[in-house]
Amino acid sequence: MDPLSRVLYIDLEHRRFWIRDRRDLFEKWLGGTGVAIQLLKEELPKDTDPLSSENVIVFAVGPLTATYPFGSKTVAMFKSPLTGNLGESHAGGRSATSIRLAGYGAIVIKGASDTPIYLVVDESGAYFRDASALWGITSTLTVGRILREATPGQGYRSIMRIGRAGEKLVRYAAVMTETYRHFGRLGLGAVFGSKKLKAIVICGGGSVPIHDKHKYRELYKEIFELAVKSDLMKKYHDLGTSMNILPLNAIGALPTRNLTSARFEEAEKISGERIAEEKLGRRLACSNCPIACIHLAALKEPYPDEPYFYKTIFISYDYEPIYALGTMLGISDIDGLLKLLDIVEIYGLDAMSTGVCLAWATEALQNGIVTRRETIVDLKWGDFENYVKAAINIVDQPNEFYEALAKGVREASERYGGRKFALSFGGNEMPGYHTGYGAHVGFLIGSRHSHLDCAGYSLDQKLKEPLPPRELVKRLIDEECWRQLLSSLVVCFFARGIYKPEMVVKTLKTLGYEYDTDGLKDLGKRIYEEKQRLKHELGFNPETLRPPKRILETESPYGTLNTEYFDEALKAYREILNQIILRR
């Protein structure tokens, strides 16, 4: 039997666990996002405070996890302390394959511990271990190092952990896994922190029996060869996502200095090409991914107290962190940028939200909305040393200003003013694309307010001129529906060029699933609809969605974006939502 349908339930309050066969859910909803929605619906009290013990965390994987290349992502679902609505975040690394090869399709974590703990999960269940000695450790890297020594399963395990940001309930704290991958967005780290859950070590060295073994071997090879011999994935290996800096800058879509501009005159200095040439030290891959898109820069730093005494640290970089902590803050010094990325990693913050919050704070200080009394350090574009201090302040929260900033840019701007230039979409900080209507409408209507929901940034770059608003909304939702299917399998979105509907049908067939392409598309649509219903039940109000004023001021590749277009698009979106909610 495929162990996918086993769900491990963990109750942190009573320190108990149990395993249930949920074939009912996995047969109907595949896995990943599809199943996580249902588990959250069953377990989460709808009006719960996201940071109370009642919040629930679901991790889910799917039939392609550990069976096919790129089946390397875990879906986490929870109530977001950042937006107050549905939280969903995906991470690579080894967590997905470890969960699957420990013999589970999902893990549900309920309740809260009264003292810090960490969990060790293996095929027999969960072990509750005291984490008092780990609580408060400055660096997530140190926590990883300690847990590597303290737990078994080297090479077959995943170590998820939070940093100080999660402990201090920063609403956009991340959960890190394998040091450089993250459940970054929407504050899963704070939910861990509120449950006093420091880390989860998952040991999975088992295997998954395959339905059609002969076809499976052939198809695996076919996909492997598509990945390594065609151009479908090459760009992710060579430069990684940071390849986007220069092209986006060239078309004037690279948000710069809190999007006062969409071009960074010094973009070349922190481009993917430049960082690769000067700093690239190592590439890493998620488990079962031949591409290795994770790029680590090697930063050699001298110690000031002794001559010829250096340390070399490895810092992962991607397009989004370079945007948020680089161009948005006007930083063009590679070493300075890397130091800031390192601090964000050490403390366990989401890079995107942190950058957007700091960019807003800088402009707020320039405008006199706040003073040095609030910001403590002098925030100036490009001054990475002060941004490092400010990022630490977000975690330490030495005054009310940083307490507000730790709740996100929406909260801070409601408190202090400056909402016009607070780059928040539905409560989530903006991703790095000012490509046009597709991107921004996508951030607004996407279920997670993420660029990955429906990839409007990509549509913008393909189109010659804007679509009519209703047509755009339809296209974005169609894309989001298909992505629900991909994140239920679960495969990495970077491999979406390989996992076309026909290919997904073939892979599932070897695993004993009978679908046709229409059936898959229909399932994706139904998962999307289930998600919207869950969001509705959690209190999501699409009437409150507005594009931040700033995006209407700064010219995009489509010129100045106009507000009527957004009104029309949001109206169309609300109509579609209403139909979905009424159809329940």
Binding site: L101, Q154, A292
Partner: protein
Amino acid sequence: MSPVKRLEIVDSERCVGCQLCMYACERRFGDAGFARSAILVRSVGGVERGFTVIVCRACQDPPCVKVCPTGALTPRNGGGVILNSSKCIGCGFCVESCPIGAIFWSYEDNKPIICTYCGYCAEFCPHGVLRLGEVKRI
């Protein structure tokens, strides 16, 4: 006598930790995962420091053979070992004896997992870490 084959680690610094070799080894049996995989990729104290690839190096004078009490493990001509499962009693001495940790354990049948030097893993190494080479005479 012509040289026999073995898995050769060309350069572990090229390894990105994708574990495709481990999955390939399990796919010999048509399944997915690691339960019967005879090769292991693990980090050298954290992924930032790179990876170690552990697989049988086909010793000329294998210690695992010497400690096998039932003759289940016999030397292969030219280097390496061959497992006769029917003779194995699952004592695990061979695992203990291998200084590089290249003998893995199958919990399902309580017997060691021994590399068969087939080279299937190397076919799926995308970054030139592994290759099927020849055992060199010492």
